[in-house]
């Protein structure tokens, strides 16, 4: 793997902005919600399924330039990456911890109302 500086083109940034604005909950992951291809991504899918909220997944394994671009966009080096209500929420560990503490539910509830 190489460092991903310069992978985020203005066009990609614009597309990501629009996609995240149009979908309240977005998970950038390895695989998709029906077929996660990594244990960490699967954990996040299982957590989101608990809430019954609509969410979109983006498979970063399908496109290496997208994979590098999203890392830069989020300023976060690993996947999965969860976005809620247009904002980066965190990676897998943060999502698990927020799930346990109730903070995730709170954030999702707020997002669904906004």
């Amino acid at each position: 793997p190489q460092g991903g500086y310069g992978a985020l083109s203005p066009e990609m940034k614009e597309a990501l902005d629009a996609f995240i604005a149009a979908n309240k909950v977005v998970l950038f992951m390895k695989g998709n919600k029906n077929f996660p291809q990594c244990g960490f991504s699967n954990t996040c899918v299982q957590i989101l399924n608990q809430f019954g909220v609509p969410y979109e997944t983006v498979n970063i394994l399908e496109d290496d330039s997208l994979r590098q671009g999203v890392k830069e966009y989020s300023n976060w080096p690993t996947f999965p990456q969860l976005y809620i209500d247009g904002e980066f929420f965190g990676g897998c560990d943060i999502t698990i911890e927020a799930f346990k503490s109730g903070e995730l539910k709170e954030t999702l509830d707020k997002a669904m109302l906004s």
Binding site: P1, P77, E97
Partner: protein, 91 residues
């Protein structure tokens, strides 16, 4: 080159001066997957997302060659003492 448990430990020790640090190689030896537990004064006043960013930033070079990095605990020295006291009492 490759990233080792020792190199992750050395970088975090040098950059964040942790009061507690545990790096666990979860890759079965190939050095590409780690669990990290860390307590450092650098986390005081920071939310979880910011704490993880501090660790990610410290490991910028290493992360390029890591498959998975799990930051299991990111505590302030005070929180670590508290948690440690609880665990010891329970044991």
């Amino acid at each position: 080159m490759g990233v080792t448990k020792e190199s992750v430990e050395a970088t975090l020790t040098q950059k964040l001066q942790p009061t507690y640090l545990k790096v666990i190689d979860t890759s079965g030896g190939c050095g590409a997957s780690f669990d990290v537990e860390i307590a450092t004064a650098a986390f005081v006043g920071k939310r979880m997302l910011e704490r993880h960013r501090v660790v990610n930033t410290a490991l910028t070079e290493e992360i390029k060659d890591i498959h998975a990095l799990s930051i299991r605990k990111a505590l302030t020295p005070e929180q670590w003492e508290e948690q440690n006291a609880k665990t010891t009492a329970a044991a």
